[in-house]
Symmetry: C2
Subunit: 303 residues, 2 copies
């Protein structure tokens, strides 16, 4: 099951005790990092996570607070003797920024594959990351092209050992059947996965949207998320119009989106550096959406 850690909760500028917004999801031993601001590699060490697990990097957009940790992170991966490929996905308009940052790295000891996401990008199945994982992207509404990401971790259907026993299927074939593969037994019988599995189980859904106006499309994108992670630059509603002008939203907007999307849980992140004590808005926010967490750096969850 996915293990999620919000490495940092800062927007724009890091504070001495708040790293820039970045999310790490680990599933089946493989890690996905979303955004990589200055200091992300230090946040990894601080929260007891291993850089070497990163398989895939998703970038929402090329503003400095989301990307300037890239060269340091990639060089550190090189220092961990990495040789396997790293996939980086980003909105196509930001190719020049990603390439500029990578030129600081010089020659890395592992290949990097860059995937440019078109602005109208909606969905892709990241087979190379995990066959049980579907990732979708959605264009957000920031001052510049910016993507939100959605993760669907599919669960295998329940395995029914009693049915397998009834059919006299040797135990060494159970795993293959549970993984959805048809098998051919030595006695000549063909066994279908459906013969030994029960009901399909609901996928786990995580949605991540930051640096955006609270557009209604996010409600559909985040619908029924087990965990919805969303920016909340300010809790002070007097900041609303100036925030919106910059393509951001209030904590209250994020709570309203979570409520309308019927999310199970909301983690707020990407606080303005001027918002020193976001937890002060807890009561107000819980009145809008009960299951809001005013996250701090290192917020963790297993789903």
């Amino acid at each position: 099951m996915p293990e999620i850690c919000l490495l940092g909760t800062g927007g724009m500028l890091p504070l001495k005790d708040r790293f820039l917004t970045s999310l790490f999801i680990e599933h089946n031993g493989r890690g996905i990092l979303i955004d990589c601001g200055e200091g992300t590699q230090v946040a990894f060490a601080k929260h007891g996570l291993k850089l070497s697990k990163i398989q895939t990097l998703l970038i929402t957009h090329g503003h400095a607070d989301h990307v300037t940790g890239l060269p340091g992170l990639l060089l550190s991966l090189g220092n961990c003797s990495r040789t396997e490929n790293l996939d980086i996905y980003f909105p196509e308009k930001w190719e020049y920024v990603i390439k500029s940052l990578l030129c600081v790295c010089g020659c890395l000891p592992f290949p990097v594959t860059m995937h440019k996401l078109p602005e109208i990008c909606t969905s892709w199945i990241a087979e190379n990351i995990d066959p049980m994982l579907e990732i979708s992207a959605m264009p957000l509404q920031h001052k510049v092209p910016c993507m939100g990401y959605k993760f669907l971790f599919r669960k295998k259907p329940e395995f029914l050992p009693e049915e397998a026993k009834k059919l006299n299927i040797p135990v060494q074939y159970w795993k293959q059947l549970h993984a959805g593969n048809q098998i051919h037994l030595p006695d000549g019988r063909e066994i279908l996965p459906e013969q030994v599995t029960g009901k399909s189980r609901k996928s786990i859904k995580i949605t991540y949207t930051t640096d955006t106006l609270p557009i209604p499309e996010i409600i559909h994108f985040a619908k029924h998320s087990d965990l919805f992670i969303c920016e909340g630059m300010y809790g002070d509603i007097e900041k609303k119009s100036s925030m919106n002008e910059k393509g951001h939203m209030l904590m209250q907007d994020a709570c309203q989106l979570a409520k309308n999307a019927n999310a199970k849980k909301l983690w707020l992140t990407h606080y303005s550096p001027a918002e020193k004590f976001p937890e002060q808005y807890q009561e107000i926010l819980k009145n809008i959406f009960e299951h809001v967490i005013i996250s701090q750096d290192g917020e963790k969850l297993s789903l």
Copy 2:
């Protein structure tokens, strides 16, 4: 008098409690930052220093651990409503790295002047920084072009108020005379600074060399430094040959350089991330050079 703060002491990779090597010198309200690895802006906040004081940035070379904090730092300066020019000096070969990093910043609200230092660069007087300050650069011997820097803070000669009184010079002219200016009094007399000042006073000298083999030229460059700041990647002498191959030196090498240069004090810095406890070498190092400090992040001194 200059106030010095070693913002970070890490080489190659930051650790969770060790920022990358970067030095800040403040003099007469103006600040010089030397190197700017990932997290430098956070180290400023951590050590109670103001980013807004930075007037000049000197880069030793373009390796990531010395430059990747640049975009974040510049954007933060922009967020402090800076409008005045920022001067950045770096070895000319690294122009592409500096420009690549700056392209992440987009449009800054203040001008940046880039100064390319030729590889044979030896000395320049940075009048625009401080007329009482002379900065020199020296090519070091790393795997790539890299500069060491030397700072001479000139002191005004002693002012002699008794002499000024004897000559009936009104008090409002004393400051100009002390600053070295000839003045013309209303009664027609010309007064020379030498008439009211005493002996010249010794300049304060700070030398900074990191990412280099312990070449003998450093001894001359750092001669009689009040403070010599030098890399010491490892204290384990078994690492010597592999370190030297990478263009680095041991803590012991730095102590020998400080001793031969007759420096007053040595701060070690730029420790390998594998060197978790550099203070363990204290006794060995003091046997080579008594006035060695195995610096930690935030080491401060007023000279």
